[in-house]
Symmetry: C3
Subunit: 192 residues, 3 copies
């Protein structure tokens, strides 16, 4: 009888730690920070060459929206506030622009602060190779003067079905205003 | 006593299969692909009529951003790269544009590749009928020359509170560059 | 023996209510609406002053995309359909524009309906204070003539690592077309 009671106690503890049971736990709470180990981790680079009126052949991105004081071939003053850029950038495994791309980073960024460089990103990594098939979808704020900054993995398809997580961005290099390279450290915490 | 032991074993297995317990499991991993059954499935159509300078009355969408070589009444060359389109499209249960809409698809798409048609989507299905109340939010890459392509359901409200899933898009019809109809097969894997 | 059986039954019920176990439950289903208690709740205000050609100093937002019949200093006719606005708005704890900001709301909104005011939002709350560090990412439809409307919390970083939830927006005040203040009631249902 005592054994059964402790069994009961044991499972009550186990069930409540799942944080997903019944109506007593408010929301779904995961208390243990030590449990924050990614179930999948991937590191990639992507390369953005913005159209400047003269590099049509190499450009992978273009300004398509700008504030009334800006235009679409030169990034606007005031830290590019209001510039909207569409991109289709090659993804590589190392930091070499000329490595064979293993996918494309596609979407947009938006400079959104007048007194410092800051952007908002909505984009996908699209893979269709032997290594990876499917897509990873991202959104979030990119205060790009910080050494590292985190955005959200908001979903995925194919190999990345239902993925959620955090991606840490790092500006790996830039040349003037026309080229930059980002290192993306993707940590998925929900894998299906 | 043996019965109690096997009980113990049984629950240990059950709890660990939940993948949500303790700090030993890295992240939240769902290993069983057979478990990928939607908890809700919905199929809709939506209809996009893009403004071309002459169809103001019927148009449900308009170009609002374009690259420096484009304009806002004609989709740009190079596979419309850089065109940003806002839409407020009727959602229907069948593939007839003239069926009574049961909601609106609202948001934007962005053509984002020079050498093939590809878009990036951010939009919501907004319902306010006896059948459905609430919204489903979507984001993802749409390589629209593929027969089917998957985007993410990134959230929901009302009847679709906290929804997550995958939506499979299929171009059901198109007429020139001004009209297209998408079939959307929504599969939710997280239902609250 | 009867006690053991009821124990067994008890845990079977508990496990199945978790909705996350095994392959028999379709998807991950959370049936109990009473379980919809937020694990975290936060209420903020943010303030949007749109650039109108004369208020460069105070403006926190600017039109950067517009339909062919619009421009970038005056919101377009037809309920601003097609106007795309980038913002970097102060977040305050109360409804006073001049209170010390505790963060910034950064991203965009998009007017997306011709016959009524409706917008689509993609933005982040970015915090870097003693109170909060990290970001909350939002997306969703904002039928802004409704007293309250729900959008999705699609992710978070830092203090809001992996957050998911619903945010209820309320227009707390507006002055002409140049200023509005939103009250945001953030309810997180997934906390890590």
């Amino acid at each position: 009888m005592r054994l059964i009671s402790s069994l009961l106690l044991f499972f009550l503890v186990v069930s409540s730690s799942a944080g997903y049971s019944g109506g007593t736990v408010p929301g779904r709470m995961r208390k243990n920070p030590a449990a924050r180990h990614p179930c999948k981790r991937l590191i990639f680079y992507f390369h953005d060459i913005i159209y400047n009126g003269e590099n049509a052949k190499n450009a992978t991105a273009a300004i398509i929206g700008a504030p009334s004081w800006g235009n679409r071939t030169i990034l606007a003053g005031q830290n590019h506030f209001g510039d909207l850029v569409v991109f289709d950038d090659p993804i590589t495994l190392d930091n070499n622009l000329h490595s064979t791309p293993i996918g494309r980073a596609q979407g947009f960024y938006l400079y959104d602060k007048k007194d410092i460089f800051t952007a908002w990103l909505g984009f996908s990594f699209v893979f269709n190779s032997t290594q990876h098939k499917g897509s990873i979808n991202f959104a979030g704020a990119d205060p790009l003067m910080n050494k590292t900054r985190d955005i959200s993995v908001i979903g995925g398809t194919g190999d990345f079905f239902m993925a959620r997580g955090v991606a840490t961005l790092m500006t790996d290099a830039f040349e003037g205003e026309d080229y930059f390279r980002l290192r993306v450290d993707i940590k998925l915490y929900e894998c299906w």
